[in-house]
Amino acid sequence: MSLLFFYIFAAIAIAGALGMVLNTRNTVAAALSLVLTMVALGGVYVLFEAYLIGVLQILVYAGAIVVLFLFVVMLLNLRGPDFSPRRQRVTKIAAAVIGVLALLQFLQLIHGAFGAPAAIPEGFGGYRQVGTALFTDYVLAFEATSLLLLAAMVGAVILAKRKID
């Protein structure tokens, strides 16, 4: 049953990803395909019992970040790729390099993936375990990250606001 759902979610995720990459003419449709991928990935995480990550995937990525993408895309009203040929060449080379790197990483993952799977401890991936880990073992990193985000937020407000009164 859960294997069947895994294949359904995986197929949706791949279809969404392809739809995003191949849909160069309609930027909004590409962003919506990304939403599809995000939601399907959330489903996959839930099937792997990583409930918190699965929910956050949908809540943060599908529900907030891609909405902001859409916001920007709609405001700019992009119609098709209007890059100059020279910039297109640079983009293509960069894409090729990144693609090769991603492929190498993927091959390495596959190489190491066929060992015996590690046993999952009780309650792994729940919000309690993640919260406890964040606020005990990793509290310094957590607070540092929150400070960094706060600084970025203040910076963004100051940049966006022309005149501070």
């Binding site: 909004v28 929910v55 949908i58 809540l59 529900g63 909405v67 916001f71 709609m74």
Partner: protein, 382 residues
Amino acid sequence: MLVVIIKLLFIILVIMAAFLPIITWVERKQSAVMQDRIGANRADIFGIRILGLFHPIADVLKLFTKEDFVPDGANRVLHLLAPVIAMVPAIMAMAVIPYGGVYRFGDFELNLVVADIDWGMLYIFAVGSLATYGAVIAGWASNNNWSLLGAMRASSQMISYEVTMGLAVVGIFMVFGTLRLPEMAIFQDQTFRLLGFVELLGLVETLPIWLDWIRLPMWGIFLQPLGFILFLTCIMAENKRPPFDAPEGESEIVSGYHLEYSGMRFGLFYTSEFLEIPVIGMIVATLFLGGWAIPFFSQETIIGFFGFFGQGVATAICMALHVGTFLLKVIFMIWLQIAIRWTLPRFRYDQVMDLCWKMILPLSIANILATGAAVLFIRGLQ
């Protein structure tokens, strides 16, 4: 499996088939009463009018027979898809809401919630965050500047209020110590002594015994009154109905994101707003009004009271009472939302944003701090 399907059918049928059509009628009649009018009473079948209860049927018939129009230059697929996307989140959220407790019939245990998951409240937030897409896609795909403005407003309003909505209920999570909705409802099926804190603080050794009778149910609204107000405001803003109807803004951007929709596709947007009313009622009732719990009469008390019928029958009676209580609370929340909608004037767009970021956000963070301190303090004393 069969039990799950029956539970699913029950909740969907009650909300979609019984509540949803009547809410449109209730909205008309309640606003009429509030404004000293008579309200809808014209639709009749062979001269029978029964208080205008046929109006929902007439509405739907009219919407179905109207032309389904797609404007020039619109993105056809997305334009047709958007009303359906708008409907989905509200229906999905119903899956984790408990409309009754856990009942034991011999070996068979009946847990009256479709999906009893440990992260139920997070699931509601995740599903609710997808509700933005219906409005955004509709506004963009219509190829109309008013619609696009409505979509922009909808997305910024809903994202902003999602943040504060999450922060407003953190206090509830701390008090109940769980995100699982059935567990929250069971927690609220108890009472606490109103003056118990005097004893806890050590001001008095023991209170007179008669003061024990002054009790309140352990409902979220009594433990987190500020959280209740903030959460209700946020979740009503998510629904985009007046006073938070900036995305539709009839007086400034004509009709916002659903301007270019006609017939039943417009009806679907309308329906999704009306469907969100009972779903909001269910969420608020579960978090703050005790869910299915009957105040001062816990499950054991009720089963014991009807014990002379035998254990099974007593449990069945208790179950029926609990489901009835839950639906009553939902009906109360529907009444409250419609009363608010017809009482308050609508906010201007910048006022909606100011309310969110400058008032609700600081208040909810203060609420989290105060609740955290109080929970730590009380745990330390016990």
